[in-house]
Amino acid sequence: MFNAPRYTAATFVACVLAFVAQSQPRHALAADFAIVAKVIDDQCMSCHDSDTKKGGIELTPLLQKSNASYGKYTKLWIKLEHMVARGKMPPKDEGPLKPADKETIKQWFHESFVLREGKSHIGITPLRRLTRYEFENTLEDVLSVKLKLPYRDVIETSFRLSTIETIVPSDIPGQSGFDNDAHRMGQLKPPLGELAKGVSYALAKFRKDSAAKQAVLGVANIPKNAKATEIKKILSAFLLRAFRGNEIGLPEHLKTYYAQYQKHLKDSKDSTESLWHVFEMILLSPEFLYRLEESKNLDTPYPVTGFELATRLSYFLWSTAPDEELLRLGKDGSLLKDEVLKAQINRMLNSPKRIALSENFAGQWLGFSDLLASSETFRNARWNRETYDEILFFFDELIKSDRSLLEMVQSDWIYKRPSVLRKRRNGYVRIDPKTRKNRYAEVLSRRQIENKDKYRPPGLIKTKSDQEGGIITSAAILRLTASKNRTSPIRRGVWVLSTIIGRELEPPPNVPPLEKSREALKIRRNPSVAELIKQHVSKPECISCHKTIDPLGLGLENFGPYGTWRTKYPDKTPVESAGVMPNGKSFKTPREMKLLLLELYKEEIAKNFVEQMFAYALGRQLQPFDRVSLEPMVRKVKEDGYRINTVIEQIVLSMQFRYRQELK
């Protein structure tokens, strides 16, 4: 049994202060639901009743007290509060809400959805199962074998998946937007048949690898007629390894699995075979496939154990089982101390295993993992991989060098693929060229490299024109937001607005046919893309979203479907890519557009980044009750110059990350 957790008084206070500060004693409830209902009735129902349903929104259910908490109408409440708090509703021509009414709604929402009985909380901590990505990584580390595809291999032939990726189906993303959404995974049956095949494959590799066996089991070969003590020793080592260092209950597990071993041995008469049989069992058990945590069945937050925190940290930053050092600090309780935790975060972000954040988190969030995941060839195998690498290395650099997250929008450095850099007199200035080999060795450390000398990584270079910098203008993103033969300013604009800035957009109703628009505009036969899009400003129901979407997409029109710069369309008409942002400021180049983006949306971009990473780390969608932690986190990130390591640290130090809770 490891030491009981110890907090220093200071850290406890610091950690919980922000949290507790939001709490209010019950009797001081500032707003009664009846008052809120009256405000909504008076101010909103004329447009949002069941007859009118302006904008498709009907607020009648919210007038009932029974719907005044988490449940069927949570999303609607969140939307209402959002619109009221931002002053977006009532619409301008209706006149604003009285300040007292606005406060009433905000206060009531805070007390009903953000707090619970006057106290802040972190909601239900869901049980988390290993995703396919984590499953493959964990098997690799637990068994000390290589399962992923050799990196070079994937470029040479047409697209292929590793054996595990072929056998085990991909996980379905949940409300959080990520495939590690525990609520989603918890609703579905795990694909045990396929996972069993995967385990079998991994064990077959392990079995042939003497070095691996030595490392994991302590022996290079299992003797044929082994004695009970030998078997128990090997089994014990395997269990500890398979259960990711969890010592709790180990004696019982050993008893259970040894009994299984003996049962099998009766028929097989072969201690080696029976042992492998039991190994397979262990890797299909809940203790391996799920990240089990001890539950106290409390409905208020309580800290997880050091070991559990080590596991959470390892899966967040590395998507795999914790290593020896992390386990040691977890089990002896040191990890529960802030300084130790911070030091470990630092160590882990300096390890090549941090690539999981770029591959898994960024790959899903920004969508560039599609370049490798889909058999639809975006261009060809080489181009797909090269442009994928550009973003992978870029994101990894952001983390490794602790850069500002805003550099995703605009930076004066990027990674450029070898087919561009190979050209003579390409004009690019390399940054730290000597460290190139080390850099790619780190990024690819989890992959087997077939021919180290043949692999050409992207180069770290200074941007040399207005056309480059950040992720938005990377070839990968530009291709992902276009189709093979044409670009779509709307697709691109929507991508920037929803993925980077974090706005929620809904598809528009009743889009009129293009020809009608052409007629209405009274423009010549072949209107330019920009002129066509001008139609969006002709109708009020279109303007509201399109005044923000269009400039972003239009600003990127100089980039063709593959990200190459163009000044003319294929039909020789000129590209008009200048635009006007919602604040009236205009831009002429992509760089100007990106700088205006930052000027207008910096806060939202930062908040969105933090929220996305937070949802990924917790394995669930964020809820209003998470606001209590989120607001100070975002503030700290801003104070620290929007640095990514601060984001990561703040997430790990949050109550959601270090505590758990069961809601009664």
Partner: protein
């Protein structure tokens, strides 16, 4: 590694030629592999559901005029000429529920409108009752790309607990699952034994975790039970030894390049699975509802989903129709394949029931009314083929699912909003033709610039550019080629399929009066 045997020779690949992935077994003109007879010693009927998302251009798809047994195939169904006697085209069936991209496939398969979260698909209803007599209960395939961010798009079938059944995208894996897994008896024994042990070892788990977590772990134990059941089923229904032997000698080169190759490989797999009685229920998603596949492998430089929104953007119509025609050709491929295989006293075609359809009708409006559906396959001799049935009054699409379910030998009181069995499937419908020619279809009045004519309005099936035709009683067609806005203002396209009287200006083109401006249209 084993995988190397499946790599297609590099040269073929480089040539970019469509690689033939027809499984060798299908080419063997050997005596029929014996099928497993069902309980009544009859040849079992197999069900194949082919889903093609992104809808159709109704004008290019709808069959207009003609009679039940004597009709002209529409533009999109042209590839089925030559097998017109082998298909049953049904029209005016309406579905309920959500037609948006994420929901359309399951709306098509369940007809429940997802009321109460019910997505139980009709193929699983059937499989739950009759699927236990084959090694594999049912098979799900998906040919279109799986969007990692939105896997829902590719899911057709849901089981009775509303659990999604993922379609297999890799034909090689599907082949292995169908044919190699079952023959690896040793491997299955081992898996059962492993799972047994796991259950044993995990029995003490529940005490330590929260009640909420325990619910999640229930799914884990459910999954174990599922595997045990499916292994037992495979064992109970093992194929004949010589069949297994033939199959184990095959190493099909199932590495496919583009969508076309993948679809053909999957249709081959379904055919083979049916023929060897490995399963009797299969579904395949040919194109998902937001298909971003680029159809350049068949000469169209466009994404399917993009061109399906053809009202907003008229220019894409030729490409849209071309892709849909290509898809009809894939159905033809399956029909031809199935007809070549002996099964019982007939062919596999005679003993199969194939439902080919789209979840929505109008690609742009995502309408759920009058779904585009084609039934083919003899259904065990029960389906009356070679007809076009258009129900005079719209019927619930769920009635068709109910009818198919019954034909497959499964019993169910109702499906979704079904009101009963659909007439006209197993026997002639004998509906009065919708637009009988009473001899009055002709030019009524004419002068140097304008004419007025009455006739049946159809849409051209000969060229890429759409134009309208007014069918007259003398079987000739008056051409109507008017500008889009003219068409749009008078909502002319709504009249297709109806008898109308049109008035407008004309020009002489190749000696025939061709209307170029429409001034008035009236339905008769």
């Amino acid at each position: 590694m084993r995988r190397n045997s499946y790599l297609i020779p590099r040269r073929t690949f480089l040539r970019g030629a469509g690689v033939s992935v027809a499984l060798p077994l299908l080419d063997i003109m050997s005596p029929a592999i014996s099928y497993a007879k069902d309980k009544d010693n009859a040849v079992p009927v197999r069900l194949c559901v082919l889903y093609k998302g992104c809808g159709v251009n109704p004008h290019a798809r709808d069959i207009v005029g003609g009679t039940e047994a004597n009709f002209e195939l529409s533009k999109i169904l042209q590839p089925l000429s030559g097998v017109q006697d082998d298909i049953l085209v049904v029209g005016n069936l309406d579905n309920q529920g959500s037609s948006d991209h994420m929901d359309a496939p399951t709306t098509f398969m369940s007809a429940t409108g997802h009321k109460g979260g019910n997505r139980y698909s009709f193929d699983q209803r059937i499989a739950d009752q009759v699927g236990s007599d084959t090694p594999i209960k049912s098979m799900q395939l998906t040919a279109d790309n799986v969007w990692k961010q939105h896997p829902w798009l590719n899911i057709l079938s849901y089981d009775k607990n509303n659990q999604p059944m993922r379609g297999q995208h890799d034909p090689q894996v599907a082949f292995d699952m169908l044919f190699k897994d079952g023959s690896r008896v040793g491997r299955q024994e081992k898996l059962l034994s492993v799972l047994d042990g796991v259950k044993d070892a995990s029995s003490s788990l529940s005490g330590k975790v929260s009640s909420r977590d325990r619910q999640i772990l229930e799914h884990y134990f459910d999954s174990i039970r599922d595997i045990e059941k499916s292994i037992q089923q495979t064992r109970k229904n093992s194929r004949e030894a010589n069949v297994d032997k033939k199959i184990s000698n095959i190493a099909p080169g199932l590495e496919v390049g583009n969508l076309g190759e993948r679809i053909k490989a999957m249709l081959d797999l379904i055919t083979l699975a049916f023929w060897t009685d490995s399963t009797r229920i299969a579904s395949c998603m040919l194109a998902n509802t937001n298909s971003r596949v680029h159809y350049d492998f068949m000469g169209v430089n466009a994404e399917f989903h993009y061109v399906s929104h053809h009202v907003r953007n008229r220019k894409v119509l030729p490409a849209y129709d071309k892709i849909n025609i290509w898809h009809a050709r894939q159905l033809r491929y399956l029909i031809d394949k199935m007809k070549t295989l002996k099964d019982g006293s007939g062919t596999l075609f005679d003993n199969s029931l194939v439902l080919w359809g789209s979840g929505i009708k109008h690609g742009d409006y995502h309408s759920l009314t009058d779904l585009p559906l084609v039934l083919t396959g003899g259904g065990g001799g029960k389906i009356d083929l070679g007809r076009h049935v258009r129900y005079p009054k719209a019927q619930p699409y769920a009635n068709l699912l109910l009818t198919i379910t019954t034909l497959m030998g499964a019993e169910t009181k109702s499906i979704g909003d079904s009101t009963g069995q659909l007439s006209g499937i197993t026997e002639k419908a004998n509906f009065k033709p919708a637009n009988p020619d009473d001899g009055s279809w002709k030019i009524i009045a004419s002068d140097k610039k304008t004419f007025t004519a009455k006739g049946l309005l159809r849409i051209s099936i000969e060229s890429e550019r759409e134009y309208y035709q007014l069918r007259l009683s003398d079987k000739s067609d008056l051409e109507i080629r008017i500008p889009f806005m003219n068409n749009h203002k008078l909502r002319f396209d709504r009249y297709v399929g109806k008898v109308v009287t049109v008035t407008g200006r004309y020009r002489m083109v190749k000696g025939k009066k061709t209307m170029v401006v429409l001034t008035k249209v009236e339905a008769n």
